[in-house]
Amino acid sequence: MKTLFKTIWQKICSIHLTVALCLMITADSAWGYFCLNRHADLFEPLNDIGLVEWIATFGRHNLSHTLWLMLLLVLLFLLGLNTFACTTDRVLGLVSARSRMGARRFFFRLAPHVMHYAVLIILSGYLGTYLFARVLDSRTLVPGGSMTLPGTAATITFDAFDPIYYEGDALPAFENRVLMPRARLTLTRGDDVSTAVLAYNRPVRFEGYGIFLKNFNPTMRSGGMSGRTRIDLSLRRDPGVRLYIPGMFLFTVGLVMYLVERVFYKKNKKETL
């Protein structure tokens, strides 16, 4: 049993596996590029409905365009396993050789492994997002309208639409167009009332939900197809954030450790020589 475990462990640790996986991921990503081209609509629902449901619906029924993504998930899972095993193997080696190096030296030699573990945490976070995020699909608010966040007593009220328009005259097609849509919101939680500005790439976080601007109207100063003002929101409660933000922090720590090791210890080594 011990031998079997050791064999499996060695297979998973193999650098051949790493190289093979990296090559396969490269080839698969290239395939994915062609599948994504003009088929982005197949992948957009992934943000709303989660991975399991997406695979069961869009994924399964468009295999010629989506198989690459499923394969990519498998390959990333295997690469994650391979990275974990390799790194743990090295860390165990370092621990056993700890007596031959100082505590500080030992600490900094852990840098690449900290980064590897951080990457695994980040990947797990993203997988958690796709598997467990709770997404409320498109919610429309008009000025003065409000909605209650599910499972809470908190409400969001859309106060006003305050966009930034194109003011130049170099691009006639952009004349009077909205360059940056901005929605002023009031966030109410019991007696606690606050305000926030929502824009593209500027989500609002409230009561554990991420509030994202999905669409808006009017798109021009003079009004679009419908002159009525509205914003479409997408709300997400994402447990993956709890993993990938610490993961990113850990990666930064690992990077700093690695830089310190490279700058000071390698330099000292050269001087000693």
Binding site: R60, H61, D137, S226
Partner: protein, 373 residues
């Protein structure tokens, strides 16, 4: 050699793992999934169908008389078959006609009676069965409530909060990107579960698909490839049908060259005037959005409306087509529309074809219409 064996073992492991990721968590008898462009119909069980509308909103369709599904907001639950519908768009109305339910279910529209060319709607409005709810920009919600619709089909997202307050479910039937040819043909399959008319929807799709196959066959060895543009210039703005729209695809399928094939996005998308004029100088055939009602009766009148258009080739030496007023309300005759467009592109393949949806604009207005020649 050892390395190859090892890699083969890894590959085998991958093949074993892949089906685990691709397996269906739901399945079950009666389960099916249909994608129609951005719309989806996911039949979860015999009784429950989940649809995603053009805005990506999930609606749950359940039979009448069954209890409310747990955890779903009431305004996202639609009882089927739906018996009373208010519709904003002519295309939605035409699709209901294709399903054979128009007369029984339509109770409200946002176009006044004198602008309708669909007999069932005109008659329904005369009989008081179908109400004019006001123009889309100024809906009379009191009138809407009186009509007691069980479903509103609309392209206007801003009406959703008001309908939620009234407790009326609604489905958004427009999408952020233009409908491709396949989606246009299959849209009927998105509306079908609301009325439990799957057979009718499949029959409609088969009919249009047969027409499309016939068009491909007939135009396969057609003569010179005509170059086509579809759009219009309105004062400072230019709107065209993008290459991903159904008309762009159809032109390509009918052995023709759609000059905006590289434009991607929503139907009636805005492009730069220079881009329009550049393609216009190459084009042989031009489809305008404008109709007779907007003053387009000849190439000369079109050029008068916008002098920039006078420089494009179809106005100087090619052909220009304007839709007839009933064209936009004739979605239930999609097969005929596709054939007519193919006949316009390749008249040599359709000798003596009689046009019903488009009119070729003469060089100048006939004198009796008072046009300037």
């Amino acid at each position: 050699m050892k390395c190859c064996r090892e890699q083969f073992q890894y590959l085998a492991l991958l093949v074993i793992l892949l089906p685990l990721f691709a397996c269906d968590g739901k399945g079950g008898s009666g389960a099916s999934f249909v994608q129609v462009g951005d719309f989806t119909v996911n039949r979860i069980s015999e009784d429950i169908t989940e649809v995603r509308d053009g805005a990506g909103r999930k609606l749950i369709l359940v039979p009448r008389g069954t209890p409310d599904p747990d955890g779903i907001e009431p305004c996202r639950v639609v009882r089927v078959p739906v018996q009373r519908v208010a519709a904003y768009g002519a295309f939605d109305v035409a699709t209901m006609k294709a399903l054979g339910v128009l007369e029984e279910v339509l109770v409200g529209v946002t176009t006044p009676a004198d602008e309708w060319y669909v007999d069932e709607v005109r008659e329904g409005m005369e009989a008081g069965r179908i109400a004019f709810l006001g123009y889309s920009s100024s809906i009379d919600f009191e009138q809407l409530r009186q009509q007691q619709p069980e479903l509103v089909l609309t392209w206007d997202h801003s009406i959703i909060p008001m309908l939620d307050d009234l407790g009326i479910p609604c489905a958004i039937t427009s999408t952020p990107t233009a409908m491709c040819l396949n989606a246009r043909m299959r849209f009927v399959q998105f509306l079908a579960p609301f009325f439990q008319k799957k057979k009718e929807a499949d029959a409609f799709f088969d009919r249009v698909n047969t027409t499309l196959t016939a068009i491909r066959k007939k135009t396969a060895n057609a003569g010179p490839t005509p170059k086509v543009i579809w759009g219009d210039i309105y004062e400072k703005r230019v709107y065209v049908e993008p290459g991903n729209a159904w008309v762009g695809e159809l032109v390509g399928l009918a052995q023709s060259d759609y000059l905006f094939h590289d434009v991607y996005g929503t139907s009636c998308i805005e492009i730069a005037v220079e881009r329009f004029l550049y393609s216009g100088e190459e084009a042989d055939i031009y489809f305008t959005y404008r109709t007779e009602k907007t003053g387009v009766t000849s190439k000369a009148s079109l050029a008068r409306l916008n002098p920039l258009l006078a420089n494009i080739r179809p106005l100087k030496s090619g052909r220009v087509y304007a839709p007839l007023p009933h064209y936009s309300q004739s979605g239930d005759r999609l097969d005929e529309i596709l054939t007519e467009i193919a006949a316009i592109l390749h008249p040599e393949c359709y000798p003596g074809f009689e046009q019903k949806f488009f009119k070729e604009l003469p060089e100048t207005d006939p004198p009796e219409q008072g046009g300037i020649s």
